[in-house]
């Protein structure tokens, strides 16, 4: 029997959002540094690995991800420096960033499974957004962050609700309605608190209706399309319906993606799965 009706859930979420009671995770210092490093060209392997090593769990996870089979390395890396030498600075910084977000926002043990499911989607959307940006000549790194964080509001809301309702009281499907309705605003709060780059904040806030974004609308549209394609890649049933929805989506028109190009992007999204799995 459900603990709370949809109405009650909505009231709980509304209270958190409207009365400033939304609990936001702290921006981890390793993330601030990695974000700065990602955006700077004058970073070397040593600085990056030092930044990552500030958080030993993060360092271990980055190494694990770097070694994961999908990167196709013949023998495993023993150190972060070596990982940088093999994968390149940008990829390692990106991994670190992603894993940092996972550790901070997607890891509350009381709703681990639901968060893990959200995380898998975030990782796939991130890798898909990167390929969309490449195809459309937009900034690739920014697009990755837009995809990674687009649904961060859902994780924030889920963790907050869990605190209100107690552990294990609700499952993701029951929460889907309220999370969907409110996650853009919750995400926008986090983006503001973390001072995320403007295009990323816009993508988080407007990825369901990118046409409402007044600035950086292309990044909102990229996050939107990445979100849709990632769902499509993962959809076991209803793929046809979803595919129709994607074909007619305003984001497709905003980015001027024609049907054949959309098909190629779908193929790229399928391929992005391997890269996304390393983050999961």
């Amino acid at each position: 029997m459900p603990v709370a009706t949809q109405q009650e859930l909505d009231t709980l979420v509304a209270r958190r959002l409207d009365e400033g009671l939304l609990e936001l995770p702290m921006l981890p210092s390793a993330m601030t540094q990695t974000l700065a490093l990602c955006q700077s060209e004058s970073v070397d392997a040593q600085t990056l690995s030092a930044a990552i090593h500030r958080d030993p769990t993060l360092a271990a996870n980055v190494l694990k991800a770097a070694n994961s089979a999908a990167f196709g390395l013949s023998s495993p890396c023993a150190s972060l420096q070596q990982a940088v030498a093999r994968l390149g600075l940008a990829r390692v910084a990106e991994l670190a960033l992603a894993l940092c977000v996972r550790g901070t926002v997607f890891s509350d043990p009381s709703c681990r499974d639901a968060l893990a499911q959200l995380w898998r989607h975030a990782a796939l959307a991130a890798c898909t957004a990167r390929e969309i940006a490449r195809a459309l000549r937009r900034n690739v790194e920014t697009a990755f962050l837009c995809g990674l964080l687009h649904d961060v509001g859902k994780a924030v809301l889920l963790t907050n609700l869990q605190r209100d309702l107690g552990q294990g009281s609700v499952e993701l499907p029951e929460l889907a309605g309220v999370l969907h309705a409110r996650h853009e605003s919750a995400g926008a709060r986090l983006a503001a608190a973390w001072k995320l780059p403007d295009p990323v904040a816009v993508a988080v806030a407007f990825h369901h209706e990118p046409e409402r974004a007044t600035v950086h609308a292309p990044f909102a549209a990229i996050a939107c399309l990445a979100d849709l394609l990632a769902h499509l890649v993962d959809a076991e049933e209803g793929a046809e319906l979803l595919a129709d929805a994607v074909r007619r989506h305003p984001a497709v028109a905003m980015l001027n993606v024609y049907p054949d190009q959309l098909q190629s992007l779908f193929v790229l999204a399928t391929k992005a799965r391997a890269a996304a799995e390393c983050l999961a």
Binding site: A36, A85, R86, G88, A90, N139, E141, N256
Partner: protein, 472 residues
């Protein structure tokens, strides 16, 4: 069931500078016009090319200017983590304002805009596929192809738009790299190279020709190269080609050059020319074909081998400038409609927005000699001009080419800040048939860069006099 196509007097494919001008020209004389655009209104010029690059350039010029004029007192350092986009703050506003202006202009002239990809079904019928895949047909008594161009992606250069970029993606970099290799030394290559150099990036230009910008007067190019190489860490490597380009997987893009050198840099810009956008147009359905360079061949009025189809702008090849594209659009439309064509093709200037700027109009000494015209060259160096000294724009020169017989101005070549504005004085002199003496007799504001004309004209007049003297 076949749907009969909607009929228009004129169908224009592509809304860049060439297409816009053709559409407006036709609408002005009451024709029913349909303008088809697959992407955003305005074309490459507004969205990837001229406007964004010039917005970044403006910032670079200002920073460089402050450094030269007051750098000893006001340190101008660009923080390494600065986002490149922050240097183009005005870009979004400028692009939006321009698109809004274009859109109003199209509406005011009653031009019907269609958003979709166009392709020929027959010589008169064009199919438009919308972004959602819906199809519609239009029929044009006259059809204008103005589909522009895009960067060439040469075989063997793995452009990933992340570290190995083209001229469309270079402006979307997150931050300023420390080092950059530029392949190619044409207009776009040199513009980007000098903009990034002015922002403190160490740039290496590599080209197979011995000098960049091969179509320009040699003395102007030599000065340009010297100015470029005065930026710290910037070099031009001529007579060399990249044999392989690859990211080393860690921290550098490595280009192996035919002269045995290796160019390593944070990012590499591949600017080895542009290709015409013709694929997908189904030119063969209109009975048209491209030439060996991939351009659509046209006559002086931009008419293709099909009498009712014209091609204008970048799709017909060089000079590939927004200004000439507009003129071609207008000219083609006037020809199609049987209107008079006042031709002034040899007084269309070219502007190259390198730092420093370069502009030319008409002929230089070599071209005049090749035509068999005897001429003298009057020269002004910017360090001789008061305004040049005040603005610290001493790195420049103006050459005025004067017909030795008629004393008319035949051409002008300028290197230096403000060149692209200054050149219009020579252009007006040429189109009105003015004599060099008018620059000597006229009074210009003081101090201005325009004074360079007076100085160059005095030099030319002195040379004319000594010629007459020696002839006598």
């Amino acid at each position: 069931m076949s749907v009969s196509p909607e009929a228009f007097d004129v169908v224009v494919i592509g809304s860049g500078p060439a297409g816009q001008k053709a559409a407006v020209q036709a609408a002005k004389v009451g024709k029913r016009v349909c303008l088809v655009e697959r992407d955003a209104l305005g074309g490459a010029c507004v969205h990837h090319g001229t406007i964004p690059s010039k917005t970044l350039r403006e910032t670079a010029v200002c920073l460089a200017g402050i450094r030269v004029r007051a750098g000893r007192h006001i340190p101008v350092e660009i923080p390494p983590e600065l986002q490149l986009q922050s240097l183009m703050d005005r870009k979004v506003a400028v692009v939006e304002a321009h698109v809004a202006f274009l859109s109003r202009q199209m509406e005011r002239n009653g031009i019907e805009q269609r958003h979709g990809r166009a392709r020929f079904l027959t010589p008169h019928v064009v199919e438009i596929e919308s972004v959602f895949g819906d199809r519609a047909l239009v029929r044009g008594s006259t059809i204008i192809i103005a589909t522009g161009s895009r960067p060439r992606a040469p075989q063997g250069i793995p452009i990933d738009h992340e570290r190995i970029l083209d001229s469309d993606s270079i402006l979307n970099l997150s931050c300023l790299p420390r080092t950059m290799t530029v392949l190619g030394a044409g207009v776009l290559a040199c513009e980007s190279a000098t903009i990034f150099a002015a922002l403190g990036v160490r740039v290496t230009i590599v080209d197979k020709a011995p000098r960049p910008l091969g179509f320009l007067t040699k003395s102007i190019v030599d000065r340009f190269v010297a100015a470029f190489e005065r930026n710290e860490g910037c070099v031009f490597v001529g007579s060399a080609e990249a044999q392989s380009v690859a990211w080393n997987g860690v921290d550098a893009v490595v280009a192996r050059l035919s002269n045995g050198w290796e160019a390593r840099s944070d990012v590499l810009l591949c600017a080895l020319g542009r290709v015409a956008n013709v694929e997908g147009l189904c030119l063969e359905a209109a009975g048209l074909a491209t030439n060996a360079r991939g351009h659509i061949p046209v006559d002086a009025d931009c008419r293709t081998s099909a009498p009712h189809i014209y091609a204008v702008g970048d799709v017909i090849g060089p000079p590939s400038l927004a200004s000439t594209s507009m003129e071609q659009g207008r000219r083609a439309m006037r020809a199609a409609l049987g209107l008079s064509r006042v031709g002034a093709a040899d007084t269309i200037p070219s502007g190259i927005y390198t730092i420093p700027e370069i502009a030319t109009v008409g002929v230089d000494a070599d071209a005049a000699a090749a035509r068999g015209t005897e001429c003298v060259i009057g020269t002004a160096r910017f360090d001789e001009i008061a305004r040049g000294q005040i603005s610290a724009c001493t790195d420049g020169v103006l050459h005025l080419v004067v017909d030795a017989g008629t004393r008319r101005v035949l051409g002008c070549q300028i290197l230096g800040e403000g060149a692209t504005e200054l050149v219009h004085l020579a252009q007006m002199a040429m189109s009105s048939g003015a004599l060099v003496d008018s620059f000597v007799d006229g009074i210009f504001n003081f101090p201005t860069m325009a004074e360079a004309y007076r100085v160059a004209a005095l030099d030319a007049v002195a040379r004319l006099q000594s010629r007459e003297f020696s002839v006598r």
